[in-house]
Amino acid sequence: MSESQFAFEMRGITKRFPGVLANDNVDFAVREGEIHALLGENGAGKSTLMNMLNGLYRPDEGQIFIKDQAVRFSSPREAINHGIGMVHQHFMLVPTQSVAENLILGQSAPRFYINYSELEAQVAELSEKFGLAVDPRAKIWQLSVGEQQRVEVLKMLYQGAKILIMDEPTAVLTPQEVTDLFDTLRSMTASGHTIVFISHKLDEVVAIADRVTVLQRGRVTATVEGKDTTKAELARLMVGREVLFRIQKAPAQPGAEALVIENISCENDRGLPALRNLSLTVRAGEVVGIAGVAGNGQTELAEVIAGLRAATEGRVIVQGQEVTGKRVAAGEQSEASKGGSWDIQVSLDIGDSSINLSKGDERPEKQAAPIMVSEGLAYIPADRTGVGSSPNLSLIDNLILKAYRRPPIGKGWRIDLSLAREQAEKLVEQFNVMTPNVDTPARLLSGGNLQKLILAREISSRPKVIIAVYPVRGLDVGAIEAIHQMLIDERNRGTAILLISEDLDELLSLSDRIVVVFEGQIMGEVPPEDERVDEIGLMMAGTRVEAVHAS
């Protein structure tokens, strides 16, 4: 082996979790100064492999070499001392601290007293050098996701990382931010850094990677040169079959108005206006896509419809019933709720408290209204662990969250556990959730599998209206294809679907109509045609549809 051709090498790495073989005899070598993409389905073991390189986990078998030296890390600190830094899938920043404070966290200097003005000047200089513009004094919670990511990269550079691992860095970025990030990454490799890049977005991988390694169910299946490969080949290597990138669908057959939003206004978490007098209608059997840059009121819109956020004005009408300000009654049947008896409300509170804790505060006041939403509203939230699932409950419990109260699973005051198990196993199989068994707590699922679990619960409740927020964020191509197919099947069954997404490809492929929002208002409506992308872009930046056509 030639001397120091590799920045690092992992040989024969095996890692087991209870019931899961996450990495199986993996060999992974990355050359110095390259951008090496790591690809694989959800749960293939990418994050696990990199967490071992980063010292967060220890391999059960196998060895890690840096410049032909065997190393063994027992903590991330030791990894960073060897020049290995990782930007995690979920950011590892302290929200209440400033950018500068986050950079020196865990560092050996300063020893005691922190000289803030000096430190901030130092940080400003570093951020200038790598073109990572960010205010050193800003608190993390004030920053956009893209800026937070810049802080993560800065932090690693500040700590002297030569090898930078980025776990799905682009999953939450806008297209412009992705472009900026890629510029940064290229300038970093030019100055001698090595980058491992995990992504599910094959276009990006093809665009930026020098080489690509593909993992499948914990094993390496291929390493290919970036310039010789194509999206289709990578997808095949990952999933083991051909993948459809755009779903085939028949023209929509819109029926009656299923979801009507009338002049809705609401505030965001900081008390600023998030929606301003927004009106929208979704009919049965159609998909309406909401396009917009993140933070323009999309998530608030979904929360208002789902009853998780109080509207300051306006009405939400589902299947002809006004539901404004009432909570989602988790698929409660009309017959049961019409009685409006007390025990239903009590059980509701028990049922939902475990998933809504973090939201408790923003719940609308009218939550105890005796008539609950009973018209089959399904909500697929952006926050999968906080709102969409209950991380410490088993898969069974998570899957019956909407069904435990009524037959056949709910039997009077008790729950038919064997039936629940049976149905959970069926759903896990049908929706292809990768898990050792249905008793596993939901928190142990990989991101993609958790999303499939939520979809399984929501779709199996036979909804009339689905609100889907970023439904495929962080998912692999195979899973995206499967989930898109599920949503289209639902639409063909006559369900009204409101799809909120940042991914224009997804919107174009699924939607029957696209509505663009900007600062809580609708800029206009566009048919989902590839030629209209520029138009959509202009509207996302705040131009009204009339103005677009006038120019």
């Binding site: 991330p76 600190r77 590892m92 966290l105 560092q107 922190i114 408790g360």
Partner: protein
């Protein structure tokens, strides 16, 4: 202003400074502990342990400073029980804190029997600052009665507040303390030992509670009486929330509540208020600090409200490495 009412007000403030000082120590300690992400509801128990240990050692050795050290050690050691449950065993911190209070009360009640009769114990010294009297205008009637002749623990309180603030907000160890309490996963990812940090600050918080107890039994009311803290530990827990986890705001709260504890007595002496003629009303006044504490605890147990008040994000949540969504 009329001299009589000035004296009245100065008296109340002076009483606030004195009776508020143990509260201030306990509150500062709990702030430190909670900012590292651990909730310790056992302040009452740790204060009692500190009060008895301080009293006994001061009596035995004849040196009140040994007493203070023993009190701090006792409070700190007891707090490690809560640390063990909260950090290592990842149990419920509310339950372990309550248990700690029971342990502290039970232990001191049994071990303290022998000391109840003792009236003379070496006390912490009083500091005289004669120049306070000589300040023109406000010297004789305001500065002197407030600061001229007070127990040394008061001045210790004045020093500790900026020291704690500086430690938490301006130093590297303080940065780590805050990180561990706000987002332990981020601290862990850069190699900070989350458990060690939390144990350290649980101990420091306990030592502060012990100091609070010892200052009570060696300076403010130099005696040992069974259950002598009379719920002050709980008031401190409430004050942490009132202070928004900020040491400067803790000062205000502690002194106000110190004054409130004295107020019933003082108000009963004012002839034209109904309290003088009707002692039952005084009982209602005495309830104020405890009512406040109950309200504060109700508030603090609602997570959403706690967030809004600025509680450390990881307060009360055990840290497990690699936990998704942590």
């Amino acid at each position: 202003m009329e001299l009589a009412s000035l004296v009245f007000i100065v008296n109340i403030i002076g009483a606030g400074l004195r009776t508020g000082t143990p509260l201030l120590f306990a509150t500062l300690g709990e702030i430190i502990t909670e900012r590292s992400g651990v909730l310790n509801l056992g302040v009452e128990g740790m204060m009692l342990a500190g009060a008895l240990a301080g009293f006994a050692v001061s009596y035995g050795t004849g040196n009140p400073w040994f007493g203070v050290m023993a009190g701090m050690l006792a409070g700190g050691t007891l707090s490690l029980l809560n640390g063990l449950v909260a950090i290592t065993l990842r149990g419920d911190q509310v339950v372990s804190g309550l248990a700690l209070t029971f342990v502290g009360r039970g232990l001191t009640s049994v071990l303290g029997v022998a000391y109840v009769q003792i009236r003379e114990v070496p006390r912490l010294p009083t500091v005289r600052l004669p120049f306070m009297y000589d300040v023109p205008l406000i010297g004789p009637n305001i500065l002197w009665p407030l600061f001229g002749e007070q127990n040394i623990v008061l001045y210790l309180g004045f020093l500790l507040v900026p020291a704690v603030w500086f430690w938490v907000e301006r130093t590297r160890p303080g940065l780590h303390l805050r990180a561990v309490g706000e987002k332990p996963a981020a601290a862990d990812a850069v190699g900070i030992n989350v458990a060690a940090q939390r144990y350290l600050y649980v101990f420091v918080g306990g030592a502060f509670a012990g100091l609070a107890g010892a200052s009570l039994s060696l300076a403010i009311t130099p005696l040992w009486i069974d259950d002598m803290t009379a719920g002050q530990g709980w008031i401190a827990v409430g004050l942490v929330i009132f202070a928004g986890w900020n040491p400067w705001r803790a000062v205000l709260g502690a002194y106000i509540f110190g004054a409130l504890r004295r107020l019933p007595l003082d108000l009963q002496a004012v002839g034209w208020l109904p309290f003088a003629s009707n002692p039952i009303l005084g009982v209602w006044l005495e309830m104020i600090p405890y009512l406040f504490t109950i309200v504060a605890l109700i508030f603090s147990s609602r997570e959403a409200i706690r967030k809004r008040l600025g509680a450390p994000a990881a307060l009360g949540i055990p840290y497990i490495r690699g936990e998704r969504g942590a």
